[in-house]
Symmetry: none
């Protein structure tokens, strides 16, 4: 679930510096040095975010924005050495989401990237539906639908547990984390609660509650949601 960033700049040094920083912060980085390469990479890889320098050798920066915007709503943050106000306004009105003037501070860029990704993530509601063979879970609508199409009713606690497990689907979630997040840190040792609620969830979701396919127990460690 890493965020994929397309970085476009004609200066190989800057490109390298940004790549190192972003990779260290957990982003998957793809780079392009020309406008055409940027458009190709955008179409091929559908990045979650674009960092765009306006001073490209082949195409005007605003042309890249226009072209991208003709088919995509991916957030675009412009990085530019031009301090001219008209450039800023032009880029923003063409479809850019944000505009930073070089030199900028790396922490600020990272904060603006987080803000841009956060914005683009929620309203579109794409990744919020997790479907299996037997049921599907809509995290945004807080809705679980059966294979027959009927809705499954979950209590607040059941939903809280399922939500954590599904958000980190595939990964092992420790009992401690579940208990701390739902009941509070003081209940870290009440593993009893988890057994009760996991049983209820299995009865409601699993085709064969006695032999769980999705809500897996890792004995002594925690639980895992498996697709």
């Amino acid at each position: 679930m890493t965020t994929r960033v397309l970085v476009v700049d004609d200066d190989a040094h800057i490109l390298r510096a940004i790549r190192i920083h972003l990779t260290a912060c957990g982003y998957a980085v793809r780079t392009a040095q020309t406008g055409r390469a940027a458009l190709r990479a955008g179409a091929e890889e559908h990045p979650d975010l674009v960092l765009l320098d306006l001073g490209l050798p082949d195409l005007d920066g605003t042309a890249v924005i226009t072209e991208l915007r003709s088919w995509s709503t991916v957030p675009i943050i412009v990085l530019s050495a031009r301090t001219d106000g008209a450039d800023k306004i032009n880029a923003l009105d063409t479809g850019a989401d944000d505009y930073l003037t070089k030199p900028f501070s790396m922490p600020e860029l990272l904060a603006r990237m987080r803000a841009a990704v956060r914005r683009s993530g929620s309203p579109t509601d794409r990744d919020t539906v997790v479907a299996t063979l037997d049921f599907s879970i809509d995290l945004a609508a807080k809705k679980v639908t059966n294979r027959t199409g009927t809705q499954v009713h979950l209590t607040p606690t059941e939903w809280a547990i399922l939500e954590i497990l599904v958000r980190d689907r595939g990964a092992l979630v420790s009992q401690r984390r579940l208990l701390s997040e739902i009941w509070g840190p003081a209940y870290r040792t009440e593993t009893n609660y988890l057994r009760v609620y996991l049983a209820q969830l299995r009865r409601k979701l699993e085709p064969e509650p006695a032999r769980p396919r999705y809500l897996i127990t890792e004995s002594g460690m925690g639980y895992r949601f498996q697709d």
Copy 2:
């Protein structure tokens, strides 16, 4: 369809200057000089955009952002005299969409406002008419029609609740969000109100008010409009 902007700043001069500029550009401007007034105005008027100064007399600016973000996704642009990088990052991570340092150029602010509104605008509006087997709701005309074709009369509060539920039809809407959007953040815990009005809506809309088909209660979490 003019864009309504809430401008928050403790300095009356700046407030006045911004108001004049924005009004001249076709925005509908509402102002607030304190954090509390801002939160009240936000809940009452549902602005399309918030311009927020961080240096308020009563509340910390980030507290205002947090409170707004607990129930609203309205774009927030922070205007601040603080040039400190940490403030910027903090505000952005709390939920702000953009951050401008004073003094800023008016054209740039306007361009960033256009970008923020553009982003937030379109993805939410779906069909304005929602029809079920028993009634149909016209969100644009604010009208509800019975199966027999007669119009159902709703009070303003009833309509406000129904509108929120129908706009996010299928999704669970938390009690907190309903109360914050309609009565204001201070009424977050008055779940009593919701019970009364949901009962009234059911009596007017449901074929069998005792056994709701459309206005579903999710105990402990919120309400859902089901098609």
